[in-house]
């Protein structure tokens, strides 16, 4: 049976040259489906990675109780004083979190970039932040430093450029990297200056912390929640960014599968058409083989295998397009808190497998019906030419 199937499959494949056009319809159609699917999944994965790589197990955020975003958080100076007296923190970094309107490099349209007012403790907390061009801002001045992701995505963020924010002229004096994390999408400035510009004197949006021992996180959170002087909670970075990633990346993934499913319907029709044509052209040969004693199931399997191989070729084409055109390409999207996060499309082996599985399923559906038709057509009718 296997030998019969192999022979008929090889015979089918040997015929491919005589119907390049129709085969390309399947390959390109399914390739398109896989390219769209993998492109969107790579976007989702890149976004998720950018956020998750930002998270460190011993770092967390102290947010106002009930708030799950830095943007709407508030920790007053008095509360910060109480928190500072707690045992268990290695570093405490009060930070102002705002958005700054900057035109996008490609379109020129304004987008919100995260602006973060920080003190020196922010650099102690995030050792991954490294100045790669220019220098650090000087405390008390209107100087800013810009993450490398933001530099590549927005206009007017080169060294020496001036960014106007609420009548304040902020000068770019440095560029920094942060190990490929979402921090690279941000603009940093002095904490006191940001409090002044954004009228947030008297407190901060969030207190970023590094714990002496990550296992004490739950105990500290419970202590914060029960402290009558505070309305604060501790959220560890891994939890915070996972939630943010899930909200946005999950939406992208849902969109990816929805669009790919719609496209898949079209490509299945194309595959069906191609395979019906292929089977029609070979109906005499198939009938001859059946007359010689080849079993109908072997004919079915050979046609299905051919359709699946064409689909697999489409999957590789689609994956190749995504890899060449998108893998590593940086882009920016809303991060769930209303500002933009820069990320790189990231294609993974698992996604390639997903793309191939999709393609093979499409090939299976597209090949099965024509195969069954070929196997059911009476031999005598097929020998007369269908």
């Amino acid at each position: 049976m296997f030998q019969q199937m192999t022979t008929v499959t090889i015979m089918n494949l040997a015929h491919l040259g005589s119907r390049v056009g129709t085969c390309l319809v399947v390959v390109v159609g399914i390739g398109g489906v896989v390219a769209v699917l993998l492109g969107l999944l790579a976007m989702s994965n890149g976004f998720r990675t950018a956020l998750m790589e930002t998270a460190k197990p011993d770092r967390g955020l102290i947010l106002r109780n009930g708030s799950n975003q830095e943007m709407v958080g508030w920790v007053s100076n008095e509360e910060f004083g109480v928190i500072s007296a707690y045992a268990g923190f290695a570093i405490l970094s009060p930070e102002i979190y705002v958005t700054i309107n900057v035109p996008k490099l490609a379109s020129g349209l304004a987008a919100d970039v995260v602006g973060r007012g920080v003190s020196d403790s922010a650099f102690d907390l995030r050792k991954e932040v490294v100045i790669v061009e220019g220098r650090k801002f000087r405390p008390g001045t209107g100087e800013i430093i810009v993450g490398s992701g933001a530099v590549g995505q927005y206009r007017g963020l080169a060294l020496g450029d001036v960014v106007m924010v609420r009548n304040a002229a902020l000068v770019v004096v440095g560029h920094f990297t942060a190990g490929g994390t979402s921090v690279e999408s941000e603009i940093w400035m002095d904490l006191a200056v940001s409090q002044d510009i954004f009228r947030r004197t008297g407190g901060s949006s969030v207190v970023r912390v590094k714990l002496l021992d990550a296992t004490t996180a739950d105990a500290i959170d419970a202590q914060l929640r029960s402290d009558p002087r505070l309305t604060a909670t501790l959220v560890m970075e891994e939890v915070f960014f996972a939630g943010m990633a899930q909200a946005r990346a999950g939406l992208i993934e849902t969109f990816a599968y929805l669009i790919a499913s719609i496209m898949a319907l079209g490509s299945v029709v194309a595959a069906l058409n191609t395979m019906y044509t292929a089977v029609g052209k070979r109906s005499l040969e198939i009938a001859t083989l059946r007359a010689l004693g080849f079993r109908p199931m072997c004919i079915v399997m050979s046609v299905v295998i051919e359709a699946m191989l064409l689909a697999l070729a489409g999957a590789l084409l689609g994956a190749g397009i995504v890899y060449v055109a998108f893998d590593g390409l940086t882009a920016a999207t809303l991060n769930g808190s209303g500002s933009q996060t820069v990320f790189a499309f990231k294609l993974s082996f698992e996604m390639l497998v997903t793309g191939c599985v999709w393609a093979l399923l499409l090939g299976l559906v597209g090949g099965s019906l024509p195969a069954l038709r070929a196997a059911r057509l009476p031999i005598t009718q097929a020998l007369r030419g269908g």
Binding site: Q3, Q4, T7, M11, A14, H15, L284, E285, T288, L289, R290, A291, L292, G293, F294, R295, P296, M297, P378, I379, T380, L383
Partner: protein, 243 residues
Amino acid sequence: MSQLDDQVSIRDTLNLKKVLIECQNLTHTYKRGGETLTVLSDLNLTIRQGDFVALMGPSGSGKTTLLNLLGGLDRVSSGVVRIQGVALDQLSESTLADWRAQTVGFIFQFYNLLPMLSALGNVELPLLLTKLNSKERRHRAQTALTIVGLTDRTKHKPSELSGGQQQRVAIARALVADPELLVCDEPTGDLDRDTADEILALLKMLNQQYGKTIVMVTHDPKAAEYASTLLHMDKGVLLSLRT
């Protein structure tokens, strides 16, 4: 019983050869539009091992239908076709496919060779349905090609062969699994006179030297002369038999 049935029975009584094919009350109909057409009507026929039978008759007389039924390519509407005692209507599709592979060799008017395979590859095809290994298959396919006189064309594709050579390849393919019965549908219909005579002589040789039972549909009276038995059909009925 008709006069023709009497003739067949008399010949059967005198003939000591084993019966290979038995058709009893064979009727075959098919539907076209809302109409049921009768292609074969209550046909009785016995063919013995080693016979070379030519089936003649006008187009639409039912001779190809009869050939398809004898070869197990189609199912009877009523009646029985028995080959070597096996009632074909009792076999499932897959068993019938296996039976065809073992018992029948087909020779078609337009050869029906697979264009992407060499002559040797085409001849080897039926052997893929056997348990022979690759070396044995190749050896047997080469032997079959030698019998039909195509030793020097084994690697040629069908498109590189003449019509006569292609039909020889088809005959080798029909022969290679050593079937009891060869069914030939207008085997010389696409060939010139000389080539047709060569093919018919080859079939005759297979019949006489190798004992193959041959049932051949033909329109060509000269082709029919090579057969040992001539059956005339019209409108689904056997009209005459000449031995």
